[in-house]
Point group: C2
């Protein structure tokens, strides 16, 4: 794989083209930080957008076939899909309403997804989901059995046509507006984890694992 | 408008139907808490999913025509769109890998979006965006002028066909797994705002407004 995606007619950033980023390192970093992706597919002329868990493994995305029957119908038979991951990093307060914005990093990946068929590849995808969400958890939890693997629908999208869009930094106002007496700047946003809540049915003798106690996004 | 959406073939929650919620109050609360929506549309057989700012006003969603040329082509001429809003509330750690999940609240709204044409309605939508992100900001910032309103693309989707999907609470394990010595519970997730960062070009004599200093999501 080359180090950058070649922007296609479909993935080149059209609006605010200076925010388009095409190197794999940036794209993969955004994908690895996102917890949830939004999968777009069409059924009988109606687009659907469904949030679901995912993980990147090498040069592909695995995502969970949640909303299963509809999504599976929508992505089967070689249909085109779009997987989008968005991280919101801040609220950008400009002096003018018009130049208010968000700082964000997003990735749009296009292509055809295929159902993962072998138990081995399903297991690897589940491991990637679990370890991505909470590194260390895979070895603690009960492993999937044959029946569960059969009941698990996982789709694979190769990362061949993708691009990122990134906005960072302070507001950009029109030149005359800098003279206005309006506070301007950025309010950073981030995801935080609260204190873990033990299941009432979890024996108090079972200690909270370090990966849960020290969880940070 | 009735107090509940009538689930259609397209919005009825198929997988995990017990998580489907159709009353407007729940749907609207999720929409009002979300900062960003994901807009799905199709162009030449390819679905696209684009994140953008939005606000609910009454029984409609307004969203920003960012990624403008592609999205505007994709939603014009009465094409079907899907607007999805997702809030991730927690990581659900079950005893088995298979029953790991997320706590989340999401809304899927389907329909045809139309371009907002009048400056007055555009102004109202911009006001809703701004006040939703940061209540109090609208009156402080410089108001949009005629040229800026012309350059702003805003789309309106009436909320007629929509549903929510909500997962809350502890993990649900298979009965025999409750005997396993595996910590189980939920790690709550939330969005937090950091300390506001003043634009270097913002005069130190301009005080940080209370709505920015006290910002909470």
């Amino acid at each position: 794989m080359s180090e950058s995606f070649t922007p296609s007619e479909r993935t080149r950033v059209v609006r605010e083209p200076q925010r388009g980023v095409y190197d794999r390192e940036t794209v993969y970093k955004i994908l690895d930080e996102g917890l949830v992706c939004h999968v777009g597919f069409s059924l009988e002329g109606q687009p659907f957008v469904i949030p679901t868990l995912f993980a990147r493994v090498g040069d592909a995305i695995y995502f969970h076939g949640s909303a299963a029957s509809r999504m599976l119908r929508g992505v089967s038979e070689g249909a085109n899909v779009c997987v989008t991951v968005t991280l919101t990093d801040g609220i950008v307060l400009a002096r003018s309403v018009f130049n208010h914005s968000m700082n964000y990093r997003s990735v749009v990946a296009l292509g055809k997804a295929t159902l993962v068929e072998t138990p081995q590849e399903k297991l690897e995808a589940l491991r990637a989901f679990t370890e991505k969400i909470l590194s260390g958890r895979w070895d603690d939890a009960r492993q999937p059995n044959e029946k569960e693997l059969k009941a698990t629908s996982i789709l694979r999208l190769p990362l061949t046509e993708a691009s990122a869009k990134v906005r960072v930094g302070p507001p950009e106002d029109d030149a005359p507006d800098y003279a206005l007496s309006v506070w301007a700047g950025v309010i950073p946003l981030g995801v935080v984890a609260g204190a873990p809540i033990r299941d009432e049915r979890c024996d108090l003798g079972i200690p909270l694992p370090a990966y849960a106690a020290n969880y940070r996004r």
